[in-house]
Amino acid sequence: MTAIRVQVFSVPKAGNQPEEYEDAIAFDEGSSRVAITDGASDAFEAGKWARALVECYVKRPPTFDAESILSWLVAPIQMWRAGIQWERLAWYAEEKARRGSFATLLGINFESIHPHDLLQNNWSWSAVALGDSCLFHLRANVLLTSFPCVRHEEFDTTPWLVSTNLEYSRQSLKGLRTATGEWRSGDLMLVSTDALAAWLLNRNGRGVDFWRRLESLADGDFLLLVEQARDRGEMRNDDVTLAVIRFCGPKG
Protein backbone atom coordinates (compact mmCIF):
# COMPACT_ATOMS: atom_id res chain seq x y z
CA MET A 1 0.00 0.00 0.00
CA THR A 2 1.37 3.37 -0.93
CA ALA A 3 0.77 6.80 0.64
CA ILE A 4 2.22 9.17 -1.92
CA ARG A 5 2.25 10.30 -5.53
CA VAL A 6 5.32 12.36 -6.40
CA GLN A 7 5.88 14.92 -9.17
CA VAL A 8 9.36 16.45 -9.59
CA PHE A 9 10.44 19.76 -11.16
CA SER A 10 13.94 21.14 -11.58
CA VAL A 11 15.71 24.13 -13.14
CA PRO A 12 19.51 24.46 -13.19
CA LYS A 13 21.27 27.62 -12.10
CA ALA A 14 21.06 30.26 -14.84
CA GLY A 15 24.29 30.33 -16.84
CA ASN A 16 25.13 26.71 -16.02
CA GLN A 17 24.77 23.68 -18.26
CA PRO A 18 22.15 21.04 -17.33
CA GLU A 19 24.94 18.55 -16.56
CA GLU A 20 26.28 20.98 -13.93
CA TYR A 21 23.07 20.63 -11.89
CA GLU A 22 24.08 19.49 -8.39
CA ASP A 23 20.78 19.04 -6.58
CA ALA A 24 19.41 15.50 -6.46
CA ILE A 25 16.08 13.98 -5.59
CA ALA A 26 14.95 10.36 -5.36
CA PHE A 27 11.65 8.81 -4.37
CA ASP A 28 10.01 5.43 -4.18
CA GLU A 29 6.21 5.52 -4.10
CA GLY A 30 6.09 1.81 -3.20
CA SER A 31 8.01 2.25 0.05
CA SER A 32 6.73 5.84 0.43
CA ARG A 33 10.15 7.47 0.78
CA VAL A 34 11.54 10.73 -0.60
CA ALA A 35 15.02 12.23 -0.28
CA ILE A 36 16.36 15.54 -1.57
CA THR A 37 19.82 17.10 -1.38
CA ASP A 38 21.76 20.14 -2.53
CA GLY A 39 25.39 19.43 -3.41
CA ALA A 40 27.75 22.16 -2.19
CA SER A 41 29.17 24.18 -5.10
CA ASP A 42 32.55 24.37 -3.39
CA ALA A 43 32.98 20.58 -3.22
CA PHE A 44 34.49 17.86 -5.39
CA GLU A 45 32.04 15.86 -7.52
CA ALA A 46 29.12 17.27 -5.52
CA GLY A 47 26.59 16.02 -8.09
CA LYS A 48 27.81 12.43 -7.65
CA TRP A 49 27.70 12.77 -3.87
CA ALA A 50 24.19 14.23 -4.01
CA ARG A 51 22.91 11.36 -6.16
CA ALA A 52 24.60 8.72 -3.98
CA LEU A 53 22.96 10.16 -0.87
CA VAL A 54 19.38 10.20 -2.15
CA GLU A 55 19.63 6.84 -3.92
CA CYS A 56 20.98 5.15 -0.79
CA TYR A 57 18.37 6.87 1.37
CA VAL A 58 15.42 5.70 -0.68
CA LYS A 59 16.81 2.17 -0.94
CA ARG A 60 17.64 1.80 2.74
CA PRO A 61 17.12 4.82 5.00
CA PRO A 62 18.91 5.13 8.34
CA THR A 63 17.20 5.42 11.67
CA PHE A 64 17.14 9.02 12.79
CA ASP A 65 20.03 9.30 15.23
CA ALA A 66 23.56 10.53 14.65
CA GLU A 67 25.35 7.20 15.23
CA SER A 68 23.02 5.30 12.87
CA ILE A 69 23.42 7.96 10.21
CA LEU A 70 27.22 7.82 10.52
CA SER A 71 27.13 4.03 9.95
CA TRP A 72 24.65 4.45 7.11
CA LEU A 73 26.94 6.98 5.38
CA VAL A 74 29.44 4.22 4.53
CA ALA A 75 27.20 3.05 1.65
CA PRO A 76 26.86 6.42 -0.17
CA ILE A 77 30.55 7.16 0.48
CA GLN A 78 31.48 3.88 -1.23
CA MET A 79 29.17 4.72 -4.13
CA TRP A 80 30.77 8.19 -4.49
CA ARG A 81 34.31 6.80 -4.31
CA ALA A 82 33.52 4.11 -6.90
CA GLY A 83 32.38 6.80 -9.34
CA ILE A 84 35.78 8.53 -9.45
CA GLN A 85 38.80 7.42 -11.48
CA TRP A 86 41.30 8.15 -8.72
CA GLU A 87 44.42 7.09 -10.62
CA ARG A 88 43.72 9.62 -13.40
CA LEU A 89 43.18 12.73 -11.26
CA ALA A 90 45.30 15.85 -11.80
CA TRP A 91 47.18 17.07 -8.69
CA TYR A 92 44.54 19.70 -7.86
CA ALA A 93 41.65 17.27 -8.32
CA GLU A 94 43.45 14.72 -6.14
CA GLU A 95 43.83 17.29 -3.36
CA LYS A 96 40.26 18.53 -3.75
CA ALA A 97 38.96 14.94 -3.68
CA ARG A 98 40.98 14.23 -0.54
CA ARG A 99 39.12 17.07 1.17
CA GLY A 100 35.82 15.39 0.27
CA SER A 101 32.40 16.32 -0.97
CA PHE A 102 29.49 17.97 0.84
CA ALA A 103 25.70 18.21 0.54
CA THR A 104 22.55 18.87 2.53
CA LEU A 105 20.16 15.98 3.20
CA LEU A 106 16.43 15.83 3.80
CA GLY A 107 14.83 12.38 4.01
CA ILE A 108 11.11 11.72 4.52
CA ASN A 109 9.36 8.44 5.31
CA PHE A 110 5.58 8.00 5.16
CA GLU A 111 4.18 5.18 7.29
CA SER A 112 0.80 3.72 8.02
CA ILE A 113 -0.29 4.26 11.62
CA HIS A 114 -2.53 1.19 11.51
CA PRO A 115 -0.92 -1.19 9.02
CA HIS A 116 -3.78 -3.67 9.31
CA ASP A 117 -6.50 -1.10 8.69
CA LEU A 118 -7.80 -1.94 5.21
CA LEU A 119 -8.77 1.65 4.49
CA GLN A 120 -5.21 2.80 5.11
CA ASN A 121 -6.21 6.42 5.66
CA ASN A 122 -4.18 7.00 8.80
CA TRP A 123 -0.61 7.79 7.93
CA SER A 124 2.21 9.74 9.43
CA TRP A 125 5.39 11.25 8.06
CA SER A 126 8.77 11.48 9.72
CA ALA A 127 11.69 13.51 8.41
CA VAL A 128 15.37 13.89 9.08
CA ALA A 129 17.33 16.96 7.99
CA LEU A 130 20.86 18.24 7.92
CA GLY A 131 21.09 21.63 6.24
CA ASP A 132 18.53 23.84 4.57
CA SER A 133 16.65 21.65 2.09
CA CYS A 134 13.04 21.99 3.32
CA LEU A 135 9.62 20.40 3.40
CA PHE A 136 6.31 22.31 3.53
CA HIS A 137 3.29 20.35 4.77
CA LEU A 138 -0.02 21.86 3.57
CA ARG A 139 -3.60 21.03 4.44
CA ALA A 140 -6.42 22.82 2.57
CA ASN A 141 -3.78 25.20 1.15
CA VAL A 142 -2.70 26.30 4.60
CA LEU A 143 0.89 25.73 5.73
CA LEU A 144 0.92 23.42 8.77
CA THR A 145 4.65 22.84 9.06
CA SER A 146 7.85 23.94 7.44
CA PHE A 147 10.93 21.92 8.33
CA PRO A 148 13.77 22.39 9.22
CA CYS A 149 13.68 26.13 8.38
CA VAL A 150 10.75 28.26 9.52
CA ARG A 151 11.91 31.75 8.53
CA HIS A 152 13.54 32.87 5.30
CA GLU A 153 16.29 34.57 7.33
CA GLU A 154 17.55 31.09 8.29
CA PHE A 155 19.01 30.53 4.83
CA ASP A 156 22.64 31.51 5.00
CA THR A 157 25.62 30.34 3.04
CA THR A 158 26.97 28.02 5.72
CA PRO A 159 24.31 25.31 6.23
CA TRP A 160 25.00 22.01 8.00
CA LEU A 161 26.30 19.53 5.45
CA VAL A 162 26.87 15.81 5.31
CA SER A 163 30.28 14.87 3.93
CA THR A 164 32.23 12.01 2.39
CA ASN A 165 34.66 12.88 5.15
CA LEU A 166 33.29 10.95 8.14
CA GLU A 167 34.97 13.06 10.79
CA TYR A 168 33.44 16.20 9.27
CA SER A 169 30.04 14.48 9.21
CA ARG A 170 30.43 13.43 12.85
CA GLN A 171 30.86 17.09 13.79
CA SER A 172 28.16 18.29 11.43
CA LEU A 173 25.58 15.85 12.78
CA LYS A 174 25.27 18.17 15.76
CA GLY A 175 22.95 20.05 13.41
CA LEU A 176 20.69 17.01 12.87
CA ARG A 177 16.97 17.77 13.08
CA THR A 178 13.94 15.48 13.03
CA ALA A 179 10.19 16.09 12.76
CA THR A 180 6.96 14.14 12.42
CA GLY A 181 3.38 14.86 11.40
CA GLU A 182 0.06 13.29 10.43
CA TRP A 183 -0.50 12.55 6.76
CA ARG A 184 -4.16 12.72 5.82
CA SER A 185 -6.28 12.39 2.74
CA GLY A 186 -6.03 15.62 0.69
CA ASP A 187 -2.72 16.70 2.26
CA LEU A 188 0.09 18.07 0.17
CA MET A 189 3.80 18.28 0.81
CA LEU A 190 6.28 20.43 -1.12
CA VAL A 191 9.95 19.50 -0.81
CA SER A 192 12.64 21.82 -2.16
CA THR A 193 16.24 22.94 -2.06
CA ASP A 194 17.16 26.25 -0.44
CA ALA A 195 16.67 28.94 -3.12
CA LEU A 196 13.02 27.99 -3.67
CA ALA A 197 12.47 27.19 0.02
CA ALA A 198 13.60 30.68 1.04
CA TRP A 199 11.33 32.19 -1.59
CA LEU A 200 8.36 30.10 -0.40
CA LEU A 201 8.84 31.02 3.24
CA ASN A 202 9.08 34.68 2.31
CA ARG A 203 5.66 34.42 0.66
CA ASN A 204 3.78 32.29 3.15
CA GLY A 205 1.72 35.31 4.24
CA ARG A 206 0.12 35.54 0.81
CA GLY A 207 -2.61 33.04 1.70
CA VAL A 208 -4.32 30.04 0.18
CA ASP A 209 -4.22 31.23 -3.44
CA PHE A 210 -0.42 31.29 -3.41
CA TRP A 211 -0.18 27.68 -2.24
CA ARG A 212 -3.06 26.54 -4.50
CA ARG A 213 -1.14 27.83 -7.51
CA LEU A 214 1.84 25.66 -6.57
CA GLU A 215 -0.33 22.58 -6.15
CA SER A 216 -1.43 22.64 -9.77
CA LEU A 217 1.95 23.35 -11.39
CA ALA A 218 2.86 22.00 -14.81
CA ASP A 219 6.45 21.81 -16.12
CA GLY A 220 6.27 25.05 -18.14
CA ASP A 221 4.68 26.91 -15.22
CA PHE A 222 7.54 25.97 -12.92
CA LEU A 223 10.25 27.20 -15.29
CA LEU A 224 8.34 30.48 -15.72
CA LEU A 225 7.84 30.87 -11.96
CA VAL A 226 11.57 30.42 -11.29
CA GLU A 227 12.71 32.66 -14.14
CA GLN A 228 10.34 35.47 -13.15
CA ALA A 229 11.35 35.27 -9.49
CA ARG A 230 15.05 35.37 -10.47
CA ASP A 231 14.48 38.30 -12.84
CA ARG A 232 12.73 40.26 -10.09
CA GLY A 233 15.63 39.54 -7.75
CA GLU A 234 13.35 37.61 -5.38
CA MET A 235 15.06 34.23 -5.78
CA ARG A 236 18.77 33.52 -5.53
CA ASN A 237 20.28 32.18 -8.76
CA ASP A 238 20.94 28.55 -7.82
CA ASP A 239 19.87 25.06 -8.88
CA VAL A 240 16.19 24.72 -8.00
CA THR A 241 14.39 21.46 -7.28
CA LEU A 242 10.80 20.88 -6.17
CA ALA A 243 8.88 17.71 -5.41
CA VAL A 244 5.10 17.95 -5.07
CA ILE A 245 3.92 15.03 -2.92
CA ARG A 246 0.20 14.24 -2.84
CA PHE A 247 -1.64 11.93 -0.49
CA CYS A 248 -2.50 8.74 -2.26
CA GLY A 249 -4.68 6.22 -0.47
CA PRO A 250 -7.91 4.39 -1.24
CA LYS A 251 -9.76 7.61 -0.55
CA GLY A 252 -6.96 9.94 -1.62
Binding site: S41, W91, Y92, P159, L166, N237
Partner: protein, 279 residues
Protein backbone atom coordinates in the same frame (compact mmCIF):
# COMPACT_ATOMS: atom_id res chain seq x y z
CA UNK B 1 25.35 49.21 -4.80
CA UNK B 2 28.82 48.31 -6.12
CA UNK B 3 30.82 45.11 -5.45
CA UNK B 4 27.84 42.78 -5.82
CA UNK B 5 28.53 41.04 -9.14
CA UNK B 6 28.72 37.30 -8.81
CA UNK B 7 32.11 35.92 -9.89
CA UNK B 8 31.43 33.40 -12.66
CA UNK B 9 33.09 31.91 -15.74
CA UNK B 10 31.15 34.40 -17.87
CA UNK B 11 32.31 37.28 -15.66
CA UNK B 12 35.61 36.19 -14.07
CA UNK B 13 37.45 38.37 -11.60
CA UNK B 14 41.13 39.10 -11.32
CA UNK B 15 43.88 39.00 -8.69
CA UNK B 16 47.12 40.82 -9.22
CA UNK B 17 49.88 40.37 -6.65
CA UNK B 18 52.64 42.95 -6.40
CA UNK B 19 55.56 41.36 -4.62
CA UNK B 20 58.44 43.27 -3.07
CA UNK B 21 61.66 41.51 -4.15
CA UNK B 22 64.07 44.16 -2.83
CA UNK B 23 67.32 43.25 -1.08
CA UNK B 24 65.93 43.90 2.40
CA UNK B 25 63.39 41.08 1.93
CA UNK B 26 66.32 38.72 2.65
CA UNK B 27 66.18 39.84 6.32
CA UNK B 28 64.28 37.76 8.84
CA UNK B 29 60.69 38.64 9.66
CA UNK B 30 60.10 40.55 12.92
CA UNK B 31 60.75 38.37 15.95
CA UNK B 32 62.01 35.42 13.93
CA UNK B 33 65.58 34.42 13.25
CA UNK B 34 64.85 31.62 10.79
CA UNK B 35 63.33 32.16 7.39
CA UNK B 36 63.47 35.42 5.52
CA UNK B 37 60.57 37.72 4.73
CA UNK B 38 60.99 36.75 1.06
CA UNK B 39 60.61 33.03 1.87
CA UNK B 40 57.55 33.66 3.98
CA UNK B 41 56.06 35.81 1.26
CA UNK B 42 56.73 33.19 -1.44
CA UNK B 43 55.15 30.50 0.75
CA UNK B 44 52.09 32.66 1.39
CA UNK B 45 51.43 33.52 -2.25
CA UNK B 46 52.10 29.95 -3.43
CA UNK B 47 49.69 28.77 -0.75
CA UNK B 48 47.04 31.25 -1.83
CA UNK B 49 47.34 30.25 -5.50
CA UNK B 50 47.16 26.61 -4.39
CA UNK B 51 43.96 27.20 -2.42
CA UNK B 52 42.46 29.30 -5.23
CA UNK B 53 43.18 26.51 -7.72
CA UNK B 54 41.64 23.86 -5.52
CA UNK B 55 38.60 26.01 -4.78
CA UNK B 56 37.93 26.35 -8.52
CA UNK B 57 38.21 22.57 -9.07
CA UNK B 58 34.76 21.04 -9.46
CA UNK B 59 35.11 17.51 -10.77
CA UNK B 60 37.44 15.09 -12.51
CA UNK B 61 36.20 15.66 -16.06
CA UNK B 62 36.05 19.46 -16.09
CA UNK B 63 39.18 20.35 -14.13
CA UNK B 64 39.56 23.91 -12.86
CA UNK B 65 36.89 26.49 -13.68
CA UNK B 66 38.13 29.87 -14.87
CA UNK B 67 36.59 32.03 -12.17
CA UNK B 68 39.76 34.16 -11.96
CA UNK B 69 42.67 35.53 -13.87
CA UNK B 70 45.84 35.87 -11.83
CA UNK B 71 49.08 37.79 -12.13
CA UNK B 72 52.19 38.02 -9.93
CA UNK B 73 54.44 41.03 -10.54
CA UNK B 74 57.76 41.21 -8.71
CA UNK B 75 59.57 44.50 -8.02
CA UNK B 76 63.20 44.77 -6.96
CA UNK B 77 66.07 44.56 -9.45
CA UNK B 78 63.39 45.04 -12.11
CA UNK B 79 59.59 45.11 -12.39
CA UNK B 80 57.88 42.20 -14.16
CA UNK B 81 56.10 38.86 -13.94
CA UNK B 82 57.50 36.61 -11.18
CA UNK B 83 56.24 33.21 -12.38
CA UNK B 84 58.75 30.40 -12.78
CA UNK B 85 58.59 27.54 -15.30
CA UNK B 86 56.20 27.49 -18.25
CA UNK B 87 54.39 30.66 -17.13
CA UNK B 88 57.55 32.79 -16.92
CA UNK B 89 57.06 36.22 -18.49
CA UNK B 90 53.24 36.06 -18.62
CA UNK B 91 51.11 38.79 -17.03
CA UNK B 92 47.49 37.72 -16.40
CA UNK B 93 46.74 34.01 -16.64
CA UNK B 94 43.40 32.14 -16.33
CA UNK B 95 43.41 30.10 -13.11
CA UNK B 96 43.07 26.87 -15.10
CA UNK B 97 46.34 27.57 -16.91
CA UNK B 98 47.93 28.41 -13.54
CA UNK B 99 46.76 25.03 -12.20
CA UNK B 100 48.12 23.10 -15.16
CA UNK B 101 51.53 24.79 -15.10
CA UNK B 102 53.10 24.95 -11.65
CA UNK B 103 56.84 25.55 -11.70
CA UNK B 104 57.17 22.29 -9.79
CA UNK B 105 55.21 19.96 -7.52
CA UNK B 106 56.64 19.17 -4.09
CA UNK B 107 55.52 16.36 -1.81
CA UNK B 108 55.00 17.63 1.70
CA UNK B 109 54.03 15.67 4.75
CA UNK B 110 51.04 16.92 6.67
CA UNK B 111 48.47 15.62 9.12
CA UNK B 112 45.19 14.69 7.50
CA UNK B 113 42.09 12.99 8.83
CA UNK B 114 42.13 9.20 8.88
CA UNK B 115 39.07 7.36 7.64
CA UNK B 116 38.90 5.54 10.94
CA UNK B 117 39.05 8.81 12.90
CA UNK B 118 42.02 10.74 14.29
CA UNK B 119 44.78 12.00 12.04
CA UNK B 120 47.54 10.34 10.07
CA UNK B 121 50.58 11.81 8.36
CA UNK B 122 50.19 11.77 4.60
CA UNK B 123 52.14 13.03 1.63
CA UNK B 124 50.32 15.94 -0.02
CA UNK B 125 51.31 17.46 -3.35
CA UNK B 126 52.10 21.15 -3.05
CA UNK B 127 52.51 23.37 -6.09
CA UNK B 128 55.15 26.09 -6.39
CA UNK B 129 54.72 28.92 -8.90
CA UNK B 130 57.38 31.29 -7.75
CA UNK B 131 60.49 31.39 -5.59
CA UNK B 132 61.87 33.96 -3.16
CA UNK B 133 64.00 36.59 -4.93
CA UNK B 134 65.83 39.51 -3.27
CA UNK B 135 67.56 42.24 -5.23
CA UNK B 136 68.29 45.98 -5.12
CA UNK B 137 65.75 48.69 -4.22
CA UNK B 138 61.97 48.99 -3.94
CA UNK B 139 60.50 50.45 -7.17
CA UNK B 140 56.95 50.39 -5.88
CA UNK B 141 55.76 53.38 -7.94
CA UNK B 142 56.85 51.60 -11.10
CA UNK B 143 55.12 48.39 -9.93
CA UNK B 144 51.84 50.28 -9.44
CA UNK B 145 52.21 51.84 -12.89
CA UNK B 146 52.79 48.39 -14.41
CA UNK B 147 49.66 47.19 -12.58
CA UNK B 148 47.74 50.08 -14.17
CA UNK B 149 49.01 49.17 -17.63
CA UNK B 150 47.94 45.52 -17.13
CA UNK B 151 44.55 46.21 -15.56
CA UNK B 152 43.50 49.16 -17.75
CA UNK B 153 42.76 46.91 -20.74
CA UNK B 154 41.39 44.20 -18.44
CA UNK B 155 38.64 46.36 -16.91
CA UNK B 156 37.63 47.56 -20.38
CA UNK B 157 37.34 43.97 -21.58
CA UNK B 158 35.50 42.85 -18.40
CA UNK B 159 33.16 45.75 -17.67
CA UNK B 160 30.54 43.39 -16.15
CA UNK B 161 33.00 41.65 -13.80
CA UNK B 162 33.71 42.12 -10.11
CA UNK B 163 36.63 44.61 -10.14
CA UNK B 164 40.21 43.31 -9.85
CA UNK B 165 41.83 42.99 -6.44
CA UNK B 166 45.46 44.13 -6.25
CA UNK B 167 47.45 42.81 -3.30
CA UNK B 168 50.72 44.62 -2.67
CA UNK B 169 53.11 42.96 -0.20
CA UNK B 170 56.17 44.95 0.85
CA UNK B 171 58.64 45.47 3.69
CA UNK B 172 59.92 48.95 3.04
CA UNK B 173 59.81 52.42 1.72
CA UNK B 174 59.51 52.93 -2.03
CA UNK B 175 62.83 54.01 -3.52
CA UNK B 176 61.30 55.63 -6.60
CA UNK B 177 59.04 58.32 -5.10
CA UNK B 178 55.70 58.76 -3.29
CA UNK B 179 53.73 55.67 -4.26
CA UNK B 180 50.40 57.17 -3.11
CA UNK B 181 49.99 59.00 -6.39
CA UNK B 182 50.28 55.95 -8.69
CA UNK B 183 48.16 54.04 -6.13
CA UNK B 184 45.36 56.61 -6.48
CA UNK B 185 45.70 56.49 -10.25
CA UNK B 186 45.40 52.68 -10.15
CA UNK B 187 42.32 52.81 -7.90
CA UNK B 188 40.52 55.02 -10.41
CA UNK B 189 40.30 52.07 -12.80
CA UNK B 190 36.88 50.46 -12.51
CA UNK B 191 34.38 48.01 -13.92
CA UNK B 192 30.64 48.72 -13.86
CA UNK B 193 30.65 47.03 -10.43
CA UNK B 194 33.16 49.31 -8.74
CA UNK B 195 36.71 50.57 -8.54
CA UNK B 196 39.78 48.35 -8.28
CA UNK B 197 40.48 47.28 -4.70
CA UNK B 198 44.04 47.82 -3.48
CA UNK B 199 45.21 45.86 -0.44
CA UNK B 200 48.58 46.51 1.18
CA UNK B 201 50.43 44.15 3.50
CA UNK B 202 53.42 45.57 5.34
CA UNK B 203 55.93 42.95 6.50
CA UNK B 204 58.47 44.63 8.76
CA UNK B 205 61.70 43.51 10.38
CA UNK B 206 60.94 45.96 13.19
CA UNK B 207 58.88 44.72 16.10
CA UNK B 208 55.31 45.96 16.34
CA UNK B 209 51.88 44.61 17.17
CA UNK B 210 50.08 43.06 14.20
CA UNK B 211 47.41 45.30 12.65
CA UNK B 212 44.66 44.03 10.35
CA UNK B 213 41.79 45.98 8.77
CA UNK B 214 42.16 49.04 11.00
CA UNK B 215 40.01 52.15 10.54
CA UNK B 216 42.53 54.88 11.33
CA UNK B 217 46.19 55.69 10.83
CA UNK B 218 47.24 55.88 14.47
CA UNK B 219 50.40 53.91 13.85
CA UNK B 220 54.00 54.79 14.59
CA UNK B 221 55.65 53.70 11.37
CA UNK B 222 55.42 56.47 8.75
CA UNK B 223 55.58 53.97 5.92
CA UNK B 224 52.70 51.98 7.43
CA UNK B 225 50.66 55.19 7.52
CA UNK B 226 51.32 55.81 3.84
CA UNK B 227 50.37 52.23 2.95
CA UNK B 228 47.19 52.57 5.02
CA UNK B 229 46.32 55.79 3.16
CA UNK B 230 46.82 54.03 -0.18
CA UNK B 231 44.59 51.06 0.77
CA UNK B 232 40.96 50.70 -0.33
CA UNK B 233 38.09 50.82 2.16
CA UNK B 234 36.67 47.29 2.41
CA UNK B 235 33.41 46.86 0.49
CA UNK B 236 30.48 45.46 2.52
CA UNK B 237 30.77 41.80 1.43
CA UNK B 238 34.46 41.65 2.39
CA UNK B 239 33.61 43.38 5.69
CA UNK B 240 31.06 40.63 6.36
CA UNK B 241 33.51 37.86 5.40
CA UNK B 242 36.15 39.41 7.65
CA UNK B 243 33.72 39.59 10.58
CA UNK B 244 32.94 35.89 10.13
CA UNK B 245 36.69 35.25 10.30
CA UNK B 246 36.71 37.00 13.67
CA UNK B 247 38.22 40.36 12.72
CA UNK B 248 37.04 43.59 14.32
CA UNK B 249 35.66 45.57 11.42
CA UNK B 250 34.24 49.06 11.15
CA UNK B 251 32.65 50.86 8.22
CA UNK B 252 35.95 52.60 7.42
CA UNK B 253 38.19 49.52 7.75
CA UNK B 254 40.82 49.44 5.05
CA UNK B 255 42.58 46.61 3.24
CA UNK B 256 45.78 47.10 5.19
CA UNK B 257 47.76 44.75 7.43
CA UNK B 258 51.03 45.21 9.33
CA UNK B 259 53.34 42.47 10.61
CA UNK B 260 50.76 39.73 10.39
CA UNK B 261 52.04 36.20 10.78
CA UNK B 262 51.95 33.82 7.86
CA UNK B 263 48.59 32.32 8.76
CA UNK B 264 47.11 35.76 9.19
CA UNK B 265 48.44 36.76 5.79
CA UNK B 266 46.79 33.76 4.21
CA UNK B 267 43.50 34.31 6.01
CA UNK B 268 43.61 37.95 5.07
CA UNK B 269 44.23 37.19 1.41
CA UNK B 270 41.71 34.39 1.38
CA UNK B 271 38.83 36.62 2.43
CA UNK B 272 38.90 38.54 -0.79
CA UNK B 273 38.93 35.48 -3.00
CA UNK B 274 35.58 33.77 -2.62
CA UNK B 275 33.15 33.79 -5.49
CA UNK B 276 29.99 35.09 -3.88
CA UNK B 277 27.95 32.14 -5.08
CA UNK B 278 30.18 29.37 -3.74
CA UNK B 279 28.52 27.55 -0.88
Amino acid sequence: MPYIVEISRQNPSCFLFLIDQSGSMADPFSGESGRSKAQRLADAVNRLLYELTIRCTKNESEGVRNYYEVGVIGYGGGVGPAWVGALAGKTLIPIREVADNPGRLEERRCNVEARTGGTVEEKVKFAVWFDPVTNNGTPMCRALEVAHSILGPWVKAHALSFPPIVINITDGEATDGDFRQPAEHLKQLRTDDGEILLFNIHLSSKPGNPIVYCENENMEDEFSKMLFQASSILPPHIQEAAKIEGYRIGPMSRGFAFNVDIVEVIKFLDIGTRPKALR
